[in-house]
Symmetry: C2
Subunit: 136 residues, 2 copies
DNA sequence: GCTAGAACGACAACCATTCTCACTCTTGGG
DNA sequence: CCCAAGAGTGAGAATGGTTGTCGTTCTAGC
């Protein structure tokens, strides 16, 4: 198998993601790798993240700020994000696993799914209160 | 109601989104508005998009390229995106409406949902074939 | 060893978005 | 009406995450 030897940066990066609770951005990964003996250029961090994504090992989502955060693909986590203050809270539910929704192959038309994102955007309870105070 | 008079840019922008099939980026909206009598600065396009989003009238998602695209909130559309070539195809299914998943208020903890994103990332059939050809 | 090609890193370039700030428009009190 | 205060706006600068460039380093295969 060529993958292990051809891309020596993949392993340390993947391990770091697995060891870490929560999601990491490319820049954070770059920083943390610098602190270890597996220091890696930022460009390569991005290259490896794309490889791991295409290999189905890592998933990725974009924060409203624009930065992308990464996690092992088996972490099936979703979020509520406030469109006003940016607060993010975990959503203890996955629409894929909970629904009887098996994503029949019919719908996928030959597409091979690797990961999914499911994010709800709205107003957190605190911003709803401010909204009432300031009119509505 | 103050909203109609206070924010005269909201109406034309919202109408443009409603008239248009598919999603539009802020830059595309800016361009198209320039062509009408409702020309609007780019900064204001972004400002109004945020207002419409917080009002629950417009939804937004980030493309893998990093740019955000907007559509009326009632368009309940999701996508399959190829992590290799970037191909996007429509996904004729919504995990919220189809599952018996009503998003019980228990799970939301006071959060008021305005819209959601649900996107599947994977390999399109064409990229799967190339992958077979180039080893695996 | 030697060479071709892949992988890599430092840095520049890119570009969507946000910030700044001077200007304009609205509005309500005098 | 007139004027001042405050909100809204637009042009352009600044920001910052990501991608591209390109010379160097590493790795396989001979
Ligand atoms: Mn899930
Ligand atoms: Mn939906
Ligand atoms: Zn909030
Ligand atoms: Zn593809």
């Amino acid at each position: 198998m060529a993958s292990a030897t051809s891309f020596p940066r993949q392993q340390p990066l993947l391990q770091l993601l697995q060891q870490t609770d929560g999601e990491l951005s490319a820049q954070e990964l770059h920083q943390r790798l610098r602190a270890t003996r597996h220091s890696t250029g930022l460009a390569t961090v991005y290259r490896v993240l794309k490889q791991l994504q295409q290999a189905g090992l890592v998933r990725c989502r974009k924060l409203p700020s624009g930065e992308a955060v990464y996690a092992p693909v088996d972490r099936d986590e979703h979020h509520l994000t406030c469109v006003q203050c940016g607060l993010i809270q975990a959503l203890p539910l996955c629409p894929i696993s909970s629904g009887s929704l098996g994503l029949g192959a019919v719908l996928l038309q030959g597409f091979r799914p690797l990961f999914h994102t499911f994010e709800i955007h709205g107003l957190c309870s605190r911003c709803q209160q401010h909204e009432i105070a300031g009119d509505e």
